[in-house]
């Protein structure tokens, strides 16, 4: 059986800097896979490569046995791979309803797109209910709170019913209740969908993760269950080293330049 997604020795090089340095991994249909690693480990880059935002320098990406290399992003989406971004990016000038409806209409022919939306499709109404934005249907997305935008973005993903969902830090900045709701949603979706989630938070991982892949400096450090990953001395080394740095005030020297996010490292093992 071919894997749902397979990466083969994927290298992404930015002017010689290898953000992803020979990553091979295989994800089965219906899996809920977590991807962790310190800032700058190359997690986002991996999702970018799968979705065609960043070209591979070497290696291959296969979706259900078919190579995605060189396929434009919008066609990758049409094949059934949806993604979210680290910061929610909904269309601010459009209403919640139009954001969702546009997402839901992604398989329509251009000619059909020229028709006006009449009413709300069941799929859009359901999704709106799921993400708790039914009452805000006619508000422009620009007026939503940060959390609501995150949900809207997830809704736009779900309404497309992708086979595979790639989420980049979906619960960052969410309240504990929102996190729990997201975690449960992920577990509900797994099975029918194949899901890859980038997440830092260990508590969240412990509650919802089955299989975890740890990335470090562009390479896979380890792949296993949450317990295996947490007990692994290498992983502790990677995170603790950074946590110690952060505590002793060497935050600014973290390699990714994302110094502002350094406190994440402390949360990870707490």
């Amino acid at each position: 059986m071919t894997a749902e997604l397979e990466l083969r020795d994927v290298v992404v090089s930015f002017n010689g800097f290898r953000a992803t340095d020979g990553v091979s991994m295989s994800i089965e249909q219906g899996e809920l896979r977590f991807l962790i690693g310190p800032n700058g480990a190359g997690k986002t880059t991996l999702i970018d490569v799968i979705t065609g935002l960043t070209p591979v320098t070497e290696g291959d990406v296969l979706f259900r046995g078919e190579s995605l290399v060189g396929v434009p992003s919008h066609k990758i989406v049409q094949k059934g791979i949806g993604r979210s971004f680290q910061t929610p990016t909904v269309f601010q000038a459009l209403t919640v309803l139009d954001n969702l409806d546009l997402a839901a209409s992604f398989k329509m022919s251009t000619l059909k797109l020229f028709r006006k939306r009449r009413g709300i499709s069941a799929a859009v109404a359901d999704t709106m209910e799921q993400i708790g934005l039914t009452d805000s249907a006619h508000r422009v997305a620009g007026a939503l709170s940060h959390g609501q935008k995150q949900w809207l973005e997830i809704g736009m993903l779900l309404v497309q019913q992708p086979r595979m969902i790639l989420l980049d830090e979906p619960v960052a900045g969410m309240s504990p209740q929102e996190r729990a709701a997201t975690g449960e949603l992920l577990q509900r979706l797994a099975g029918d969908h194949t899901i890859v989630v980038i997440e830092h938070d260990m508590a969240f991982l412990r509650s919802y993760a089955e299989k975890v892949t740890v990335l470090h400096e562009g390479k896979i450090l380890l792949e296993g269950t949450v317990d295996q990953v947490q007990g692994n001395p290498l992983v502790q080394e990677v995170y603790l080293g950074r946590a110690r740095d952060a505590r002793s005030g060497h935050v600014a020297s973290t390699e990714s330049g994302e110094a502002a996010q350094a406190p994440d490292a402390q949360e990870v093992l707490s």
Partner: protein
């Protein structure tokens, strides 16, 4: 996207920036004691829309009677052509974020299509237009000119050729991710090339002199006092068609896609849409409308010459949209009409000062009223509506007219 890596190097934010005031309106409309739709919002719903449209159509139809004078009527017909260009250009620029600085090319392609037909209308079948006997060494009509003996062909070509050219240019350019300032410069360059071509192809285009002396237009004598009125109604019809198409486009799903592409071209791809395609369609639509307007401008203005379609006139077209208000349906039309009227009035009284006046107008609008007339209208109507009674009751979950969702829309 806080990390810069997910964004393409983008110099375009300055020019592609979405029009002011979008995406932030709703919150301001909501107050503690209920939902206060602004006056312009009230007018946008159902009856308000129909009434505005009815008034607009009424004024358009009554136009020649209101104006009274054939010369002025002819001038208004000209402004109506400009308004048609502006309505189309706003699809590309206002809704699509493409700062097209070469719209004169498409206006010109339409004008030359009709200009060729009109030139041939003046002579017996089989004869050459006057200028050809001056410059030309051949005594047969050039191949390019032949189909333009037929009015239907000239009319269709005036719309289809600009749309096709824009479609082709757009397809190539947008798929190469040329946008923002680069796109603006590129379109401006096309205007320059077009101008040079027109001047260079003397035997086909009559060079700088252009095509003129249309005493007979579509079977009407140019000097007949009823002719301006006839041309006026043609131009008014074209404008109405453009408005209806633009309104339908903007309200359709494609219209939403276009706005989404304007505000997040990279993001749109991850919804599964090809942003280059979305932009190409709007650019082609805008070009088609410019071509239609150009075709009618030929008999109305009475001359088709390269200088009308050069770089400067193309930039002025953007000015019309800016004055009226980007990303609104009626704003650009009003902007073009207003600038047209002002131009005539000011240059009649102070011929040498019009250019300065126009420059000042554009500077003031861009600098102080980035939303144009539509923006001023939004502000004023917002102020007025604050004094009108609120709609709906409590505002603990403020939203835009949620009741319409609950009742009428969920059904399907």
């Amino acid at each position: 996207m806080t990390t810069t890596k997910n964004e393409y190097p983008d110099v375009s934010s300055l020019v592609d920036e979405k029009p002011p005031g979008e995406g932030v309106v709703a919150e301001a409309d909501v107050t503690r004691d209920g939902y206060h739709p602004s006056l312009s919002d009230r007018l946008k719903t159902g009856w308000g829309r129909r009434i505005i449209l009815a008034i607009a159509v009424g004024v358009l139809i009554a136009g020649p009677d209101l104006i009274g004078d054939p010369t002025r009527t002819r001038q208004w017909a000209e402004y109506l052509c400009y308004a048609t260009v502006a309505v189309g250009l706003d699809l590309a620029w206002g809704y699509g974020g493409m700062l097209a600085l070469g719209q004169g090319v498409f206006f010109g392609l339409g004008a030359y299509s009709m200009g060729m037909y009109l030139s041939l209308e003046q002579v017996e079948p089989g004869q050459l237009p006057q200028f050809m006997s001056l410059y030309g060494d051949n005594d047969k009509l050039p191949l390019l000119w032949r189909p333009f003996e037929h009015l239907w062909f000239a009319g269709v070509a005036a719309v289809v050729v600009p749309a096709l050219v824009a479609g082709l240019v757009g397809w190539l350019v947008f798929h190469r991710r040329i946008r923002g300032a680069y796109f603006a410069l590129l379109t401006q360059a096309t205007a320059l090339v077009f101008w040079l071509l027109l001047i260079g192809q003397l035997k086909l285009t009559a060079g700088t002199n252009g095509l003129t002396n249309f005493s007979e237009v579509f079977g009407h004598n140019k000097y007949d006092p009823s002719t301006p009125e006839f041309l006026y109604y043609l131009a008014a019809g074209a404008l109405l068609v453009a408005l209806v198409v633009a309104r339908h486009t903007v309200n359709s799903r494609y219209g939403k896609l276009l706005v989404a592409t304007r505000d997040g071209e990279d993001r749109v791809q991850f919804l599964g849409y090809d942003p280059a395609k979305a932009k190409t369609i709007a650019f082609a639509l805008a070009a088609g409308m410019a071509g239609l307007a150009g075709a009618l401008s030929a008999p109305i203005i009475g001359i088709v010459a390269p200088d009308q379609f050069a770089v400067l006139p193309s930039i002025l077209m953007i000015g019309w949209v800016a004055v009226g208000g980007r990303a609104t349906i009626y704003g650009p039309m009003i902007g073009a009409l207003l600038v047209g009227v002002l131009k005539t009035r000011v240059s009649e009284s102070h011929p040498e000062n019009w250019q300065y006046f126009q420059g000042l107008l554009f500077i003031v609008v861009v600098g102080f009223f980035p939303g144009g007339l539509a923006g001023i209208w939004r502000k004023l109507s917002g102020a007025v509506s604050a004094r009108l009674p609120a709609r709906g009751g409590s505002a603990d979950e403020p939203s835009r007219a949620p009741q319409t969702l609950a009742t009428s829309e969920v059904a399907s």
